[in-house]
Symmetry: C2
Subunit: 257 residues, 2 copies
């Protein structure tokens, strides 16, 4: 397919590379920043522009992969002279209808993208949505050229998916960060000692559901250990509160099942 890539950040870069390697033709890259546009265009062997009015008028899909805040304005400025074209955005938390094109859709690859870290797109689940059935099929077909896992999901349910991803990724990672802080302040143990535990915690989920895999004082409701832990956190009341709420919530989850 002929694809125009609007954006040259982490997601646009990773997605662009995956599409290019799958044999699609990236017709053009647009970015406000010349440096970013140029860098990505050279990887994707295609022209670039920094001016919305110079974005090509026709392609099979226009993929708008920019910051949520810039999405709506940028898309609107592209709408003139491109009616009838298929525009999709890549933002998990945004409704499809932030775009006002007749042929609008969403192409959401659910992953955490970091600069300078290549990702294997084939294992990233992609969630697609579009107004027209034909466009849904086109996006599914496109997604399947780069990913083994493709779902059709509407905007309402995708909001919850995105929220679920925040828990799995950002909040779990913050638990790791709080752990790193504790280690730094007590005993001078380097954080990497936690990696086998973290890898095992993540690895278990390939054979168990999270609630089946739960261990530790909260799921046993071992108030003796929990009280001692709360005591250790008395200098940081916010972290203490997080400990308390997460422990109660683990207990609730256990009682539910």
């Amino acid at each position: 397919m002929k694809i125009v890539l609007i954006g040259a950040g982490n997601l646009a870069t990773n997605l662009g590379k995956a599409l290019f390697h799958a044999g699609h033709e990236i017709v053009q890259v647009y970015s406000r920043t010349e440096e970013s546009a140029k860098t990505l265009a050279s990887v994707l062997k295609c022209p670039y522009t920094t001016q919305t009015e110079n974005v090509v008028r026709k392609a099979d899909v226009f993929v708008v992969a920019v910051k949520d805040a810039a999405l709506q304005t940028l898309a609107s400025s592209l709408q003139v002279s491109r009616e009838g074209q298929l525009f999709v955005h890549t933002a998990g938390s945004m409704s499809m209808d932030v775009l006002s094109f007749e042929r609008r859709g969403v192409f959401y690859p659910m992953q955490t993208f970091s600069k300078n870290k290549e990702v294997d797109f084939s294992v990233i689940p992609c969630f697609v949505e579009a107004v027209n059935e034909n466009d849904i099929q086109l996006l599914k077909k496109l997604a399947l050229t780069i990913s083994d896992t493709v779902y059709e999901l509407d905007s309402e349910n995708r909001k919850y998916l995105h929220l679920a991803a925040v828990f799995c990724c950002n909040f779990a990672n913050h638990c790791f960060a709080l752990s790193a802080d504790l280690l730094k302040e007590h005993g001078n143990i380097p954080f990497h000692v936690m990696l086998p535990l973290i890898d095992e915690t993540a690895g278990k989920l390939h054979s168990l559901l999270p609630r089946e895999a739960q261990t530790g004082p909260a799921v046993r409701w071992d108030t003796n250990v929990m009280d001692k832990h709360l005591q250790l956190l008395s200098d940081t009341p916010e972290i203490q509160k997080i400990y308390e709420l997460l422990s109660k919530s683990i207990h609730e989850e256990e009682l539910k099942n």
Copy 2:
């Protein structure tokens, strides 16, 4: 070394196997439950007993790997006739001094152990402590026969290590559990779609510290997305509160650095 194993639960089983495979002689297994004692003893090719008075009197190390609640009472009942022997417990959260033997110590392998899931002990960090310098060296030597990562750590700092492990393991896992609940209730997406994201979140930490790896709305302080997420959680005020506190804490962590 000649080792007596007091306990036959998850940790005792995993540790016993690792010690056995490293060439140590497990002299005897004790468990209150005959079934457990028998099962583990057959794996470790050694005799077993269910009576504390029948536990052997001499060995290089007595490893007491039982539930925290049972530890002190059980250890006391073994103390008679075994003065001069080295007794260690394996509980991360317990002080060395819950044992009252003159030669007491701790041997804490930091990992989450599940039944029926073999673990590779060599990557599990072990934390040792003892009253006598000779015993510290003995425990370090023993630990190095089964693990590549061995630290000496006193009881006070080990409390924080154990707390840090609760954040890395139990609390991160609970974030996964909350995520699974959200997916179950909205859009009927199976939890396994989250595995690539979870694996990447854990995998990143092999090259980045958690706070360097953080992404998502809270670290960007994107109140637009966060407010929408809080709205989605309005039916579950406890989870909403967890979302709010973790987001604030991510923001605090970001401001600190």
